[in-house]
């Protein structure tokens, strides 16, 4: 039984998805301010770790890590609309890459599970 990460295509799938996903996020005026930093390279790497996690790949993130990392954004007004917009871009990225629907559903469930920690609820 192979894992979600393997089924989806492992690291090369993350590599294929990260540029498409980050372009979508940066082009969306409703959320781009949260992602548009002076250090785009570092931000890009963060998006890559996020996708690895959402794809069920190896990661060591805990809920507490997610909470701490996003707290400054929450202080700047990060809310559920923003979260949903990012999730939407993740979904359309996967659709663009022709990932099977059942795997997309699995990825979206993992991404959705981070909501409370990301939004500090």
């Amino acid at each position: 039984m192979s894992s979600l990460f393997e089924k989806i295509g492992g690291e090369s799938a993350v590599d294929a998805a990260v540029d498409i996903f980050y372009r979508k996020v940066l082009s969306d005026d409703s959320i781009s301010d949260f992602f548009d930093t002076t250090d785009m390279e570092a931000q890009h790497a963060k998006q890559k770790s996020f996708l690895t996690m959402a794809f069920g790949g190896p990661n060591h993130y805990t809920g507490a890590d997610m909470r701490t990392a996003h707290a400054p954004l929450v202080a700047k007004g990060l809310n559920e609309n923003h979260f949903n917009a990012v999730a939407g871009h993740l979904q359309s990225t996967l659709e663009e890459l022709k990932v099977p629907a059942d795997l997309i559903a699995d990825v979206m469930a993992i991404a959705g599970s981070t909501k409370e920690d990301v939004l500090g609820l």
Binding site: R23, L26, K46, S49, T52, D65
Partner: protein, 320 residues
């Protein structure tokens, strides 16, 4: 087990430990986050010894060739010496062996270090004045072809270091130098890919070094260099670059002037705007950006949105 040396002290690894584990177990605060090799927070520089391939395979080529690696992905097979990327480095003495005015505002300095420095064109060095001021200058020289280090200094109205270098520093004098730093360099392996370079002001210096390095290494794909200034007098190395453009079929040089007066052979507008108009689809490109932070930041974003892959964008923004 192999030893990891950090700041002169050796730490012995335990079986199955990564470099990150060993260092943190010994109380060294290496920053980290994902521990899966993606976030690159725990990147270290290997100064001696060989690191594993696995600890480098997610880094971009420039970082690989400079011996950076990810501590969380490295189980060393032999003794290594490491440093954090921003550890304070050692200053050495450098002597001025050449000084030449290139434009009303820009001077070229040639420096000779007491100990030969291994570097890549496009990296930068820090110079320290006796009064303690430290400023970064990019290297325009090419180690394979130039005997001395070359920096280009622009007189900045508020820049005490630039005034001192231009007015006081001269052939025969010494200054403290630290480096090389930065990873805006040409790496081999994609010789037929198009290259786009955009530099403002003395952001031209590293780009000229990278351009010469690319040609030296036999880059065959087109190379488009856009140099931007406000006034035509500030465009420097114009004749040299026009000559390279004439000599090499794949080199295309553009001098861009954003102010009102445009001289013959130059284009009107900002270098970054003109570059984007000429190259709306940057999918296969390698991009090099140097100059004012606002230009570098805006252009990096536009290049990425125009299809350039993030690892293929190298940038170096001026710092104050």
């Amino acid at each position: 087990m192999p030893n990891i040396t950090y700041q002169g002290k050796a730490y012995s690894g335990l079986p199955d430990e990564t470099v990150l584990d060993t260092m943190r177990r010994n109380g060294i605060e290496v920053p980290f986050s994902c521990r899966a090799g993606d976030c690159q927070t725990c990147m270290l520089l290997c100064k001696k010894g060989e690191i594993t391939e696995r600890s480098q395979n997610k880094l971009k080529p420039a970082l690989k060739s400079l011996n950076y690696f990810l501590a969380c992905q490295c189980q060393p097979e032999q003794d290594i010496e490491v440093s954090l990327p921003d550890d304070e480095d050692v200053y050495i003495s450098a002597r001025c062996v050449g000084k030449q005015q290139l434009s009303p505002t820009v001077w070229r300095f040639q420096l000779e270090t007491a100990v030969p420095m291994f570097y890549h064109a496009g990296q930068f060095v820090n110079l320290k004045h006796k009064a303690g001021w430290v400023r970064s200058y990019s290297l325009a020289s090419l180690p394979a072809e130039d005997e001395h280090l070359e920096i280009q200094v622009r007189r900045m109205p508020d820049g005490q270091m630039s005034h001192w270098l231009i007015d006081e520093f001269d052939v025969g004098m010494h200054i403290e130098l630290e480096g090389p730093n930065g990873h805006c360099i040409y790496t081999d392996g994609q010789a037929d890919k198009p290259i786009l370079m955009v530099g403002t002001g003395t952001g031209l210096a590293p780009l000229v070094g990278i351009l010469r390095d690319a040609l030296h290494q036999g880059h065959s794909g087109p190379i488009h260099l856009y140099h931007g200034t406000r006034n035509p007098e500030e465009i420097y190395l114009h004749d040299e670059l026009t000559e390279i453009d004439r000599q090499y079929e794949n080199v295309h040089y553009h001098a861009c002037v954003s102010g009102d007066n445009v001289a013959a052979g130059m284009q009107a507008g900002r270098a970054s705007d003109i570059a984007m108009q000429d190259h709306p689809d940057l999918k296969a490109y390698r991009i090099f950006l140097c100059g004012l932070p606002a230009m570098v930041r805006g252009m990096r974003k536009n290049a990425f949105l125009a299809g350039a892959a993030m690892p293929n964008i190298s940038a170096d923004a001026f710092t104050k």
